[in-house]
Subunit: 158 residues, 2 copies
């Protein structure tokens, strides 16, 4: 899949001072909701919180996780990601063509997906705000605040 790597806008991604604490709190959250903590789940959470990119596929996570623990199955990654989504820690976004990415809910943004090269560019919510407001006013449609996908051509492909 993802034939071309999106041009990772590399700037320090997560400005979270204490990732370790975050990991603990996320796991805690799972437990609060009746979930259990396993090495597989912990590995997924670690990979997710440490990942440089804001949008990762289940496959990306699996690759990281399996580097250390080859036995963690892809389906476990999917199931863990699903559990995290239900606990509102991560949000799943469909980028089209069957591709789905996950990102932390605390990072609110939208995505511009290039039809040609497949790159994904983040857009701060503020830029889209006027539109979501208009959609609410005129269609009573509550556009997802974190899961918007806009396709088109990126600056280098247009």
């Amino acid at each position: 899949m993802a034939a071309s790597r999106p041009p990772a806008h590399h700037r320090e991604s997560h400005s979270h001072p204490d990732v370790a604490a975050q990991i603990v709190s996320v796991l805690e959250r799972l437990r609060e909701h009746g979930g259990r903590i396993t090495s597989g789940r912990r590995a997924v959470v670690v990979a997710l919180l440490r990942h440089d990119d804001h949008h990762v596929t289940a496959d990306d996570i699996a690759a990281v996780v399996q580097a250390d623990q080859p036995d963690i199955h892809l389906s476990t990654v999917y199931r863990t990601l699903e559990a995290l989504e239900q606990v509102d820690v991560v949000s799943r976004v469909d980028l089209g063509q069957g591709r789905a990415v996950y990102h932390l809910v605390d990072h609110v943004h939208h995505h511009l997906v290039c039809d040609r090269c497949g790159s994904v560019t983040e857009v701060p919510a503020s830029v889209v705000e006027p539109l979501t407001q208009a959609l609410d006013d005129r269609f009573s449609f509550a556009a997802s605040p974190t899961r918007l996908t806009i396709s088109g051509l990126c600056s280098s492909c247009r």
Copy 2:
């Protein structure tokens, strides 16, 4: 070939006065681009132009086509739709979750897809215009003028 001219009654959905003429022109367009006209392709075009809905899946088209010609295979529908897309007659829009719909390019609009019930609401391009303008200005991103998909909750599900 001189197809039996269908009755000129306008029970149509699109504001096209003469569907029959449109069918001919679309087929003509295929031929101009080196394509050939077969009964399967004609059936797909007819189904597409006569369809009441603005967004149809390959499956929808296949169902209509196969009612008359059971031998037309789904893959032929996909291939024809693809050919029509390359000739700029139809546009394919990915609604997420692997679902894709096709619509005539002359019907410019965007889609609001409900996360809960899956309903699709059309939005005129004018509502989205300010956003596409902003994306162009700030990110040099050329948002597709006809293929935007916005997910969220529709009026009855929110």
